[in-house]
């Protein structure tokens, strides 16, 4: 077995992360539908396989930068569900004290450095985190997540060029869910494959089925090894789909029914579960136990969030600068 093939233990670890992301997302939507929670929520359900498979290759020291649609990336990297839920609920106990919300999730102790709400802005910042590791001579890698639509904004271009010229230890992960808000891929993007844009920066670019954990693991392993070895950046385009629209409330009228159905049929979660069973990497009982444990984790997280106090109004004067403002 090659170094870049995930073994059974790893595959099960990936499954656990996917389960955590899926169940948390299902629960958030349930809580919103039931009126227990309210927020602008960008579900990543359907994309969980990508960060799950990448993050088993990372440790806490590695850096992650993501976007408003980044709950899956954050959970996979280690943001505790409790702190996530409390943040979504806007509570004082949230990872950002309720100041950031879903678009600004942060948790440095697990390498969750920045979440941005500005399309494209995750890439330049990732270059800086990677520069820090390079200057310190660390093997630390930085993962920069963004969407397909973001590949058309200037910051993408400048960042890939800079990362290539400076040989920065960064992996650019384009989660291509084929839509930018309500605009389909081809209406906004002139090239067939975003991965092909890597050539403009003399950088390896690879497209992969983002719903196949083994495939994502394989390409991520190569890109991360390359970055740790000081050989520079890689662009990964992971093909996927978002099941719950751009924002909760989005009815997806702009998505052809057949495409939607096909995407749902390719749901990575049940498919991967079946693969694990078929390949005998785990028994149904073992996987059920994982799901149950994860659900319990979410139960605790929601309970924690709901029972937590709201932030104090004075927090508006704190964290604007190191010193409080009047």
């Amino acid at each position: 077995m090659h170094a870049n093939e995930a073994d059974g233990k790893t595959l099960v670890a990936i499954y656990r992360k996917m389960a955590l992301i899926k169940h948390s997302d299902d629960r958030v939507i349930d809580a919103m539908k039931a009126g227990r929670m309210q927020m602008p929520y960008y579900s990543a359900r359907g994309q969980e396989c990508i960060p799950a498979a990448i993050s088993v290759l990372l440790d806490d020291a590695d850096y992650l930068v993501t976007i408003y649609r980044g709950v899956h990336d954050m959970l996979a990297k280690g943001l505790p569900a409790k702190l996530l839920w409390a943040e979504l609920a806007g509570k004082a106990t949230g990872s950002c004290k309720g100041k950031g919300g879903p678009m600004h999730l942060t948790y440095p102790s697990k390498g969750c450095m920045v979440t941005t709400g500005i399309v494209g802005a995750s890439l330049p910042i990732a270059c800086g985190l990677a520069l820090a590791a390079q200057l310190r001579g660390e093997t630390r890698v930085t993962i920069a997540n963004f969407g397909d639509g973001a590949s058309n904004i200037g910051a993408f271009h400048e960042s890939l060029n800079l990362a290539s010229v400076w040989k920065l230890p960064v992996v650019f992960v384009c989660q291509n869910n084929r839509y930018a808000e309500h605009t389909s891929y081809a209406k906004g993007t002139s090239c067939e494959r975003i991965a092909d844009r890597a050539a403009a920066y003399a950088m390896p670019g690879v497209r992969v089925d983002g719903n196949d954990p083994r495939a994502v693991y394989r390409v991520a392993q190569t890109a991360i090894a390359r970055a740790r070895a000081g050989e520079g950046p890689t662009l990964i385009e992971a093909m996927t789909f978002r099941f719950n629209g751009h924002l909760i409330g989005d009815m997806g009228e702009y998505i052809p029914k057949a495409d939607y159905a096909a995407a749902l049929a390719a749901d990575p979660y049940p498919r991967f579960r079946q693969q694990l069973l078929d390949d005998r990497h785990a028994s149904a009982a073992e996987l059920d136990a994982i799901d149950a444990a994860v659900r319990e984790e979410i139960d605790d997280a929601e309970a924690f969030a709901m029972s937590s106090p709201p932030p104090d109004a004075r927090e508006v004067t704190r964290d604007v600068y190191a010193h409080d403002i009047a």
Binding site: G90, G101, H104, I118, G120, G154, P310, A313, V316
Partner: protein
């Protein structure tokens, strides 16, 4: 939406109507922005709904490339079109600031008047929807401090329609700022083809004790306070600036000359905001006539927070408006 009953309309409907009517009346008007065409839903709040179906290639959804499409609007305007582009949220002006401030605002001057840029940039913003620090800011002061571009900020459907039509007619670039949370507030419907002049404030309510000056969302907070104080015998003269740059100081000073007192209100953070300019100009012009210093009511000098209780703490409270008014009367 293009067939609204003429009696009532909300801001969303009146702006949609203004775009339909402008495109119908003037073939030079073109519209583009992210998700604004009908296949993409006619805009994230459906404000541009129906335009692409009716006007075809003159209406386009763009890639997520604000620099490119705002710059393209500049170029099309230089070539004689009247582009109306949407920058979805006001914070995103930060990714295309160069085309707005170094180009749209300056080409007429730098070319010695050989070219000009008759374009409108529509954008929406406002706190109170848990959109957090990068999706809620009022940044009008940046553009007011930029000679060459005008800044218009309507507070109701009738002004919205008339000001958008005037902005589209205008030979110079206009930044048109819409308050997202009040799109759905009902109001009187605009007259088809009506215009509200850019650079003219509106006296919303007559009064002799104190002048309260606002624009955009602030008008919704000022009105009830003025009502309440009227009951206590305090007569507020309420002014809706409508255009923030250039400022209609004639209307403001005429009122303050009468009242001798003034309060300026806006959602943008207080420091170095529009209120400072209005306050300075009143003090400079009416120092001797003023009975009290001009008061400013605005948001805390912080980013916009996410949690509702913090959003409430960020924004001024209506009570702050009353306190400021009473302070000028003390």
């Amino acid at each position: 939406m293009s067939t609204t009953p003429k009696t009532q309309a909300n801001l969303l409907q009146s702006l949609n109507q203004a775009l339909h009517d402008a495109m119908e009346d003037d073939p030079a008007v073109i519209v583009f922005g992210e998700d604004i065409a009908d296949p993409e839903g006619g805009g994230i709040v459906k404000l541009t709904h129906g335009l692409s179906t009716k006007f075809g290639a003159r209406v386009r959804s763009t890639p997520i490339s604000e620099m490119a499409f705002v710059g393209a609007a500049v170029g099309a305007a230089v070539a004689g079109f009247k582009p109306v582009v949407e920058i979805m949220l006001m914070n995103f002006t930060a990714v295309c600031m160069d085309q707005i401030t170094n180009h749209a605002a300056k080409l007429r001057f730098m070319s010695g008047g050989q070219t000009h840029v008759p374009m409108v940039i529509r954008t929406m913003t406002g706190s109170g929807m848990q959109n957090g620090g990068q999706h809620s800011d009022f940044l009008e002061a940046w553009f007011c401090h930029t000679p060459g571009i005008k800044v218009v900020m309507p507070s109701n459907p009738v002004d919205g329609y008339g000001l958008l039509r005037s902005a589209i007619d205008d030979p110079d670039p206009v930044l048109f700022v819409e308050h997202l949370p009040s799109y759905w507030l009902p109001g009187a419907a605009p007259e088809r083809g009506s215009r509200i002049p850019i650079g003219k404030a509106r006296v919303h309510r007559q009064g002799c004790d104190v002048t309260v000056i606002g624009y955009s969302r602030a008008m919704h907070d000022i009105a009830p306070v003025a009502e309440k104080l009227a009951a206590d015998g305090i007569a507020c003269e309420v002014i809706d600036l409508r255009t923030v740059s250039p400022l209609d100081m004639d209307t403001v000073l005429t009122s303050v000359k009468k009242t001798g007192r003034a309060v300026v209100v806006h959602e943008a953070v207080k420091s170095f905001g529009v209120g400072a300019e209005v306050s300075s100009r009143i003090h400079e012009a009416l120092f001797r006539e003023l009975k009290a210093p001009v008061e400013r009511v605005a948001s805390a000098d912080s980013p916009v927070p996410y949690a509702p209780p913090l959003e409430a703490a960020f924004l001024y409270r209506p009570a702050d408006i009353e306190t400021a008014i009473r302070k000028t009367l003390a």
